[in-house]
């Protein structure tokens, strides 16, 4: 059995990825005393050299997204990008209307932001996708009102991999004069995206989902006269005051390099992921009572979410060791409530609780998939045997 981190078999790439060795090297060169470690705001050669790395990174990320470098704001991750986009836009447009729209199946870094805005007096419509996770355009259209200011719909769902039709959703929003924010943490660098052709106003991303470093994200802000954001942080004036603080050049350069690599190998990545995912599903789909959560035809191929109703989730996770996979979202794993995303798709508490998210990455091998198949089958069988009949 080949594996990622020494003694483990890592299939949790949707939670976070290792950093690509080429990216690591880029970052390394910008940190040590012999490197370009200067503060990019400084008025001397060390600062200007650093700054050039920031510019290159913005160009690389812009190229990946089909937009220009000056539309990108660096943040600490998708959580901050989501907050800046949603709170920043909503507060700035407060006087125009207080209605906002999002989905029940968004990441907590979106839902919790909308809850905070509700406490500030905004009104939020929470849309429910179909049982396969896909949002019906009619549902969105029906929710739009004259005073709707902002719609936030994620691109790829972090639990199911299901994607939304951002192009059509954007048109629908713009037709009604609302802004569209997209949480693309799970799709940037993984699925083709051409922002110049999309009616997307704000898009959040984070480097550690695409083989870049943790602690760096970006927010795309379209060039539109009526698009302004209130900043969340105040300080030294960096990034046109939208997001101040010393720019973390090694992280930014790492993000940029990861974006360039992603642009290069996206198509071959996708083909490989699809092959491995299909192999995984073929290897377990005959288990009695197994259910695929989501929709294979409409999802990012690096992710497979399955559940069996009669097995307890936490025990299943432990029984899968040394396989590293997720139940629910990695970001709220510490609370053991059944996934609200799966509940919104109509799963019972028990089925949601026993769901497993396999997520496949660039380093994943066929052997690892075969190991996962064997381990999953075995664990389910053992736990089922151990489970008392409901009517004992």
């Amino acid at each position: 059995m080949t594996n990622a981190a020494a003694d483990l078999v890592y299939l949790d790439y949707a939670a976070t990825t290792p950093v690509d060795p080429r990216v690591l090297e880029t970052m390394l060169r910008l940190q040590g005393v012999q490197g370009d470690f200067g503060n990019p705001s400084a008025m001397h050669r060390a600062g200007w050299r650093s700054h050039a790395h920031v510019e290159l990174a913005a160009e690389r990320l812009g190229a990946l997204l089909g937009t220009s470098a000056d539309r990108l704001v660096w943040t600490s991750g998708a959580t901050e990008s989501n907050n800046l986009a949603i709170i920043g836009a909503a507060r700035h447009r407060r006087h125009r209307g207080r209605h906002l729209v999002t989905m029940l199946t968004e990441h907590k870094a979106v839902t919790d932001v909308f809850r905070a805005l509700q406490r500030e007096g905004f009104e939020v419509s929470w849309l429910r996708p179909g049982p396969n996770g896909v949002l019906d355009l009619g549902t969105l259209q029906a929710a739009m009102r004259a005073d709707t200011q902002l719609v936030s719909i994620m691109h790829v769902n972090n639990e199911t991999g299901v994607w939304q039709d951002i192009a059509k959703i954007g048109e629908c929003c713009h037709a009604r004069g609302a802004l569209l924010h997209v949480d693309a943490a799970q799709s940037v660098g993984k699925l083709p995206l051409a922002l110049a052709e999309l009616s997307v106003d704000l898009m959040s991303m984070t480097a550690h989902k695409l083989y870049g470093p943790k602690g760096i994200g970006a927010l795309y802000v379209a060039k539109r006269p009526d698009l302004h954001l209130e900043p969340l942080l105040f300080g030294g004036g960096q990034q046109q005051r939208l997001r101040p603080g010393t720019l973390p050049v090694p992280l930014i350069a790492g993000f940029g390099h990861a974006a360039a690599i992603a642009a290069d190998c996206m198509l071959s990545d996708l083909a490989q992921l699809r092959t491995l995912r299909d192999r995984l599903w073929a290897g377990i789909s005959d288990l009695p009572g197994i259910r695929l959560n989501g929709d294979l035809a409409m999802s990012y191929p690096g992710l497979l979410n399955v559940s069996v109703a009669d097995v307890e989730g936490e025990s299943l996770l432990l029984a899968l060791e040394p396989l590293c996979v997720a139940t629910g979202s990695a970001c709220n794993a510490q609370n053991q409530e059944p996934s609200y995303v799966l509940r919104a798709l109509g799963l019972s508490d028990a089925a949601a609780q026993g769901a497993i998210r396999f997520s496949i990455g660039r380093p994943t091998t066929r052997d690892e998939i075969d190991f996962a198949i064997r381990q999953y089958r075995h664990a389910v069988q053992v736990l089922r045997t151990m489970s008392p009949d409901v009517a004992a």
């Binding site: 307890e312 936490e314 432990l318 794993a333 510490q334 151990m386 489970s387 008392p388």
Partner: protein, 130 residues
Amino acid sequence: MSRDPYSERVRALFSSPLHAGSMSTPYRVLVDDQGIRIELSATLDGDVIQRLRFRAWGCPHVVAAAEWICTQLEGESAARLQDFAITELMQSLAVPVEKSGRILVVEDAVRALGAAIKESSTIAGQAEQD
């Protein structure tokens, strides 16, 4: 943020649950509470627990606790079941406090089994007296 919640002891008990199973015996109880289900079944040799088996639907701590209990109580007097308390178990398995509610369901199961045994032996005793 989370740290590994499973002690080596819990891992060992969970991954080799030697007492997992079910026996057809009159001494069998099922407790279903807080989303956790525990079945215990015992065979007796006089007053002594000869064999104790469990089936469980719950988190690894619940499974490990059930296995631990079976290991501890086989060979003991059945009378011990009724005032069984989880204090030692909680410590010995380093169960996180927030899970004590679940482990109390295991305690309930053990006591229920004790009560069941006592009741049937009382009936049996009564039958003998009659």
